[in-house]
């Protein structure tokens, strides 16, 4: 596939994300596609099945906004900053509505994307022997090894309708380069029917081709490319800006009070036209605090044949 896939976030979400779909917004504590998730909120999508290894604040926000009815995940908290109270309210008190969950371990969830990407009927792993997780989630099953090693647990493929990831850069065709923690982005993209990539910067094809090892998702797997600087805030983009840890702490009291959380969604998401508006509201001063000092990788030579 060649030709520019560059579009706007509003158009990409309108074209690819519809009510009732299964969507994966991946990024393991890093490069979390917040801007894309916020656009899903702005477009008031409903009844989505959300797939994320660690749901993080992004899932809490999508739940508060009423976009998600089902959650497939492997850790129901936000990393360092404690509980996600909207998720807890849904699960513990069915308030305002129950949340259907499908729960795995991290590696189980990763193996689901792998099986999905490879179109395998299942993927085995060494986890779960003796655990109650298979009783909680009947989709974790076991098979007898045909090679006489006993039974092993397996997980089914996960094939999202849409996978959305954020990355440091891509070219207009969708060759996507990311570095630092790379999470489940590559298998989640290959497992999906459609892929939206948001990036800090759309770069020239020559920039990508000068360092092809850094391309984790090639253009052939990508349907839409959107330049969204700051698109991972309040998570981070390695080498571009740091995590807004203060926001992660601020979210805990916001999400503890449902009315406050709803007001936050109204003010910060519905109250801004797009991600540029969200960043403007955030302000230069806050952004200054997230800047990182440069630490370039050095470079390697790929060489060219002479003559």
């Amino acid at each position: 596939m060649t030709g520019s896939k560059v579009t706007t976030l509003a158009e990409a979400v309108a074209a690819h994300v519809r009510d009732g779909m299964t969507v994966a917004l991946e990024g393991f504590g890093h490069l979390i596609p917040f801007a894309a998730g916020h656009e899903i909120i702005r477009q008031r999508r409903r009844d989505l099945t959300m797939c994320r290894m660690t749901p993080d604040i992004l899932t809490d926000q999508l739940l508060v906004a009423g976009c998600v009815s089902r959650l497939v995940a492997s850790f129901f908290a936000s990393g360092s900053a404690g509980s996600l109270y909207e998720i807890r309210r849904r699960v513990e008190q069915h308030d305002p509505a129950p949340l259907e969950t499908e729960e795995y371990s991290h590696y189980g969830m990763y193996c689901r994307y792998e099986a999905g990407a490879k179109r395998l009927p299942f993927q085995p792993l060494l986890s779960y022997v003796g655990s109650d997780l298979p009783a909680l989630n009947p989709r974790i099953r076991s098979v007898e090894s045909p090679y006489g090693e006993g039974r092993v647990y397996v997980v089914p493929p996960l094939n999202p309708d849409v996978t959305i990831v954020h990355a440091q850069r891509a070219d207009a065709n969708g060759n996507t380069q990311l570095w630092g923690i790379t999470g489940a982005q590559a298998p989640a993209a290959y497992a999906a029917s459609a892929v939206i990539v948001t990036v800090e910067e759309v770069v020239a094809p020559e920039t990508v081709r000068a360092d092809p090892n850094r391309t984790l998702i090639p253009a052939h797997a990508v349907d839409a490319v959107v330049e969204v600087p700051g698109g991972a805030h309040p998570s981070y983009a390695q080498g571009c800006y740091d995590r807004d840890s203060a926001f992660y702490r601020e979210w805990t009291p916001i999400s503890r009070d449902r009315e406050r959380a709803l007001a936050w969604i109204d003010e910060w998401i519905h109250g801004t036209a797009d991600h540029a508006g969200y960043l403007a509201k955030l302000g230069e001063q806050r952004w200054d605090g997230l800047r990182v000092a440069p630490a370039p990788s050095g470079s390697v030579s790929y060489g060219r044949r002479q003559g």
């Binding site: 890093h30 129901f76 807890r88 729960e103 060494l126 022997v129 655990s131 090693e149 923690i181 790379t182």
Partner: protein, 283 residues
Amino acid sequence: MTADSSARVGGSSTADAAITEGVTVDVSEVPPHSAEFLATVAARELAGRHRVFAGVGLPTLAVDLAKRTVNPGVELVYESGVVGAHPEAMAEGIADSVLVSGSEAMLSMDALFGYVLQGGYVDVGFLGAAQVDRIGNINTSVIGDWRRPEVRLPGSGGASDIIASAREIVVVLRRHDPAALPEEVDFCTSPSPVRARRQDGFHQPQGAGVTTVITPLGVLRRPDRDGELELAAVHPGVTVAEVTGNTGWDLRVRGDVAETPRPRTEDVRLLREEIDTVRLYLR
């Protein structure tokens, strides 16, 4: 090879050896339930270990302190794919950018869980828990009935993957009472090999499971892969009866039950002034 000249003999002896460099070591009076005390005891568990899979919270403090004291060569591995972390600041979470910058390798999560963990490279997995029971099952999922839980906990994350394949598991608990240490967990997220073996016909995990539980009252150990937790040490000022009375089963007490050596003032200074300067985990 990493620098680990002090080969571990087993049991609790290394912990004592690691801190008695001189007879006149300045000891700190921080109370045994404090984060400083627990992190120091946990750090000493890492003496002589090559490769540690560290989680968020107290394990973050413990691995950092161990690297500065008992085990400068310890290789820190994180589920986010970081191998050989050399953080310039304390990590706020296992996906913090400071773990990535300057690390020895950044692997895909498939390589990390598949090759490094399932491949048998992890010596110690450091886990938190809401409940640990008699045979070392861990609950991080729910309190109460899972269909309508009283409290929804974070769930497995990598824990149930780690317990299957890490050589052993060290758990740090912030409380010691029958609710946190019950006869049997409400829900088994991460199973003991004893429980795994009851699933007849399954390919058995290679890990020994939980070998050490550090609590605000003492240190419990499970020296035998097939055995149960027993009281190995009490913290200063804590009686054996206090520990057994606050445990949810008839806790076996070792004949040679020891008193946990106090942290040195230097350990506490490092934790407060160089490691967790913002008091994120030192609460």
